[in-house]
């Protein structure tokens, strides 16, 4: 999809480095230094790969969605960790529905799940289906 879109989305993820600890029912308190370390050594590499890959795909999947509901992925919550968690969960849910490149979907889901893992958060259950939950095993994400 649109490279700019992904950059605007994942560009917020660097906020992980300045996260404030949040007490959330869906997130577990984690040391921000540990979060930052995991982001710098692991997550950032996958985000770069995903951005490079998104630039090669035709821009057809996110065009309409952005116009209709631009606030889908950009939360208005003041809690940074929760915002990032919501963004990752929404991204995971969004790409499940789209008929786009399977490899790209897999990578996107991988980044989303890794983000949730670093934040020690989990998504609310919008559905009982496993595809909206990382479940610790990314292979289940694509099981439809």
């Amino acid at each position: 999809c649109n490279l700019v879109f992904f950059r605007s989305v994942f560009g917020i993820l660097p906020l992980l480095v300045v996260l404030l600890p949040v007490n959330s029912s869906t997130c577990v308190m984690e040391n921000t230094a540990v979060i930052r370390e995991k982001y710098e050594n692991v997550l950032s590499e996958d985000i770069n790969s995903l951005e490079n890959m998104s630039g090669k795909l035709r821009d057809r999947c996110c065009r309409n969605k952005r116009r209709e509901n631009p606030s889908v992925f950009f939360c208005n919550d003041t809690q940074e960790i929760r915002s990032l968690r919501n963004m990752a969960c929404d991204l995971l849910k969004f790409f499940y529905k789209q008929k786009i490149n399977e490899e790209f979907r897999w990578r996107t889901a991988h980044v989303s799940c890794m983000t949730l893992d670093i934040l020690h958060c989990k998504c609310d259950k919008w559905s009982k289906r496993k595809e909206v939950s990382c479940c610790g095993n990314l292979q289940t994400i694509l099981q439809i």
Partner: protein
């Protein structure tokens, strides 16, 4: 109500503890003495999108027929996967490396032992490859370069420590650690003429990724020769190449020393030595009766000597050449002039001059002041080509002036030496009869009589 809640919580706690079994210690106390300690390592990005876990038992002789290993997540939704048995090791592909994993030993469907591992703490990189050794002559250094598969991957790029090991022959290994993909060995620290073996391995740098050393790369050999690098093949291959070299050199030497001289001297020396030719009578006679050369200059026909320049002498003058003649070097000069006279073919012009200036040959009036007793010295007169060294005396007899002196005739006795003057003006006829090839030799008796007679006539 409060007490009931507390009791319920305690009961729930024990139930959860029993069912989860996450204390990380051995939970089974059935008295089994098997050592089920496992050793695991992870390999990142072993293939695209996936990593791997590899485990094996510390006990070497363990019968692993009924033993399995499972890997479970530590999240609430515990998801487990059974590792694939590959001989004595257990292998599993994984896709997520951030969260912890729990590895459990399952013996006959009973979970025996579990331990938690962090995938990023048990990383074993892939082995380096492609060692390249370059000798930098100016700096007397060996540049060792190598490659690692993780350069093209995401996580371990620039996060590895490389260990370079080298040793001489069967000596002890020396190691150098580097975070880069090249190092330099100083030539002065290496023994000249010695052969060295080099190999490399890698390990995570420990900042975020921790783990174990990789397998060693394949070894590379080099020889520290003076002034240049001699890359060595493996010892077996080097022995073979040396043998081939020796054989080649021996063959070339044999060809040069034996075969080529035989071919060169076969006709001239070897063959006549072993198969001498019988003399051919016809050839022998031909050699004896060789015809003279075409240009052989023997003829009594004066017309054949038309190319010879014979110059007529119109007059004789006493010149300063007499003084030079009286000097020690004079005779030699005269001899030179005589030689020139003999070889008229070469330089007729010079012959002309020499003939004209030859005071002895053509005579003349000796200045009186030149005549003294000092002149009564023997001047060896070497006639080149005639092999006659005829000394003569130039003396004044009773104060009378001597006229020109002729060339002395061949005489063995000094007493027989006589002065034979020659006429001053020498007519053409006389000159025409002079044979240049004979030169002085032509001053035989007949010619002397001829010149004398003509001289007397002129007088």
């Amino acid at each position: 109500m409060t007490r009931l809640t507390i009791a319920f919580g305690i009961l729930l706690f024990f139930l959860l503890h029993t069912t989860s079994g996450e204390d990380g210690s051995s939970g089974d106390e059935d008295g089994d003495d098997l050592d089920l300690e496992t050793e695991c390592f992870s390999q990142l990005e072993i293939k695209e999108f996936s990593h791997s876990l590899t485990c094996n038992f510390m006990e070497v002789n363990l019968n692993s027929t009924n033993i399995n290993l499972t890997v479970c997540t530590t999240s609430e939704e515990r998801i487990c996967s059974t590792m694939e048995k590959q001989g004595s090791t257990y292998f599993l592909y994984i896709y997520e490396i951030i969260s912890c994993k729990e590895i459990c030993v399952v013996l006959e469907s009973k979970r025996k032992d579990c331990k938690r591992v962090t995938v990023t703490d048990i990383v074993k990189p892939e082995a380096p490859y492609g060692i390249n050794i370059t000798f930098q002559k100016d700096a007397d250094e060996y540049l060792i370069q190598y490659s690692t598969p993780h350069t093209r991957k995401k996580y371990l790029k620039d996060k590895l420590i490389h260990e370079i090991a080298y040793h001489e022959g069967n000596g002890t290994w020396n190691t150098i650690d580097s975070q880069y993909l090249q190092i330099k060995l100083l030539g002065k620290n290496l023994q000249k003429g010695a052969s060295y073996e080099v190999k490399v391995r890698s390990k995570p740098d420990g900042k975020f990724f921790k783990g174990f050393w990789s397998e060693w790369s394949s070894s590379e050999y080099f020889k520290n020769a003076v002034g240049h690098l001699e890359r060595e093949d493996k010892p077996q291959e080097s022995n073979f190449s040396i043998g081939m070299l020796v054989v080649t050199i021996s063959t070339v030497t044999f060809v040069l020393l034996f075969i080529i001289p035989v071919l060169i001297f076969w006709e001239t020396r070897i063959k006549p030595l072993f198969w001498p030719e019988l003399p051919d009578h016809k050839k022998t006679l031909e050699q004896l009766c060789k015809k003279p050369k075409k240009n052989f200059d023997i003829s009594f026909n004066p017309e054949k000597f038309g190319y010879v320049h014979i110059h007529k002498v119109d007059g004789i003058q006493a010149k300063t050449e007499v003084e030079s003649f009286l000097q020690p070097s004079a005779p030699l000069d005269v001899s030179e002039k005589v030689r020139n006279e003999l070889d008229m073919k070469k330089s007729p012009t010079d012959v002309d001059k020499s003939v004209l200036k030859l005071p002895v040959t053509y005579g003349g009036f000796w200045p009186s002041d030149t005549l003294s007793e000092h002149l009564c010295e023997t001047h060896p007169f070497i006639l080149d080509g005639f092999s006659n060294g005829i000394p003569y005396r130039l003396c004044s007899i009773n104060g009378t002036q001597l006229y020109n002196y002729g060339l002395m005739t061949h005489s063995s006795s000094p007493a027989d030496l006589t002065v034979q003057p020659r006429p001053g003006p020498i007519n053409t006829d006389t000159m025409s009869h002079i044979q240049p090839s004979n030169g002085i030799r032509s001053s035989n008796k007949d010619e002397a009589y001829v010149t004398m007679s003509s001289f007397c006539k002129n007088q």
